[in-house]
Symmetry: C2
Subunit: 221 residues, 2 copies
């Protein structure tokens, strides 16, 4: 389903390597929303430019500007898109199902990703004197712990379907897939988590996920 | 307003020191919900007991069990409580306002708290060889960066009222206040962020916040 909007109404500030922007790319694609992309090169610190921090005081990507109003934080953007552009929904209708989807999403977005992102890795290297190899071990530790828990949450629950919750993608898949891409980038063995691996495969069969991959972005290097 | 529920319907697994459980304590108090508390002593690793991980595979607090169904992740719990027990609402009615509140909440819950919590601090000390003093510098760095951004987001926005968004507490305040308590615990100078300090004062004038403080819990040491 294509929602009715114009590209001029929605401006998406993104960086191909950012997992948080990977989430919002999936969200925009799933909703079929026309939009304009603006590329913010994190490794060149473009996110710290005054013009960008005026939109996003945290200096993080992504930012979505809708009708002139800037929203930061990928999950706030995803929930906003879901409230304004209803179809297809990112959350089930029942409160218990919505809680389950959000729990899975936050298990990634609050307990894996923040500990592993660029600014934390940089800090561990530059301020705390760790080597790149030590930082990789740190990253892998938190991903393993998180994915082990997610596998348990998903494997034995009849609410898990083709995707994390039922047979259509939700906010949970929007968070899970970019994190799994990071795990693959760190050469982790995904087959340790058969349910996650199966869901990942189902997601990439949808163009919305495939097109959101870092390597498929215009700013990819 | 007191919602109609019985304490037997809602079981809250909490630990006095946990900022995530501090959030759900505020949420339960704001909704006026009768509930039963179960104390999970994180420093004694009670969160890793099989009986607990069966409820919460991540082995984190809090967990809320409502009518036999377990929900983990403090923000999933808060959104669930808001959907099931409507008054007073934790989110404004308009999508843009909801996005703003969630953005503030996630700026704390995704970008400050996860990098600073007990398991990360333990890992930095035990696995990466840092002293307690070095870990404190790490914590303070991320709190300062986060609070600086939040002060900018809140200070110059007419949507900021007595609380983070308007004149009633929202999900944003539920996340902000426990993080500010951590900053105070680390002896940070709160007056650096006058808007945050003013909002904190307004929050503690409400019994829901005051009663949720770590020191006011039955399991406080």
């Amino acid at each position: 389903m294509t929602s009715s909007n114009t590209a001029a109404e929605l401006v998406h500030y993104t960086y191909f390597r950012s997992s948080a922007a990977f989430r919002t790319r999936i969200a925009l694609n799933l909703k079929g929303l026309a939009h304009q992309d603006v590329f913010v090169h994190l490794r060149k610190n473009e996110q710290m430019a005054d013009t960008y921090t005026a939109l996003n005081p945290q200096g993080l990507v992504p930012t979505l500007v809708h009708k002139g109003r800037a929203i930061g934080q990928s999950l706030a953007i995803a929930e906003y898109l879901d409230e304004v552009f209803r179809e297809p929904p990112f959350l089930p209708k029942d409160a218990a199902g919505r809680a389950r989807v959000r729990q899975i999403a936050y298990a990634v977005a609050c307990d894996i990703h923040p500990i592993n992102n660029l600014r934390v890795r940089r800090y561990l290297q530059n301020e705390m004197g760790h080597s790149e190899a030590e930082v990789l071990i740190f990253m892998i530790h938190w991903m393993k712990e998180g994915f082990d828990a997610l596998e348990k949450m998903l494997a034995n629950d009849p609410q898990t379907g083709r995707f994390c919750h039922g047979d259509t993608p939700t906010l949970a898949d929007i968070c899970l897939i970019p994190q799994m891409a990071n795990a693959r980038g760190a050469d982790m063995d995904i087959s340790t988590w058969p349910t996650l691996k199966r869901i990942e495969k189902a997601c990439y069969e949808l163009p919305a996920f495939e097109a959101a991959l870092p390597k498929n972005q215009p700013d990819a290097e």
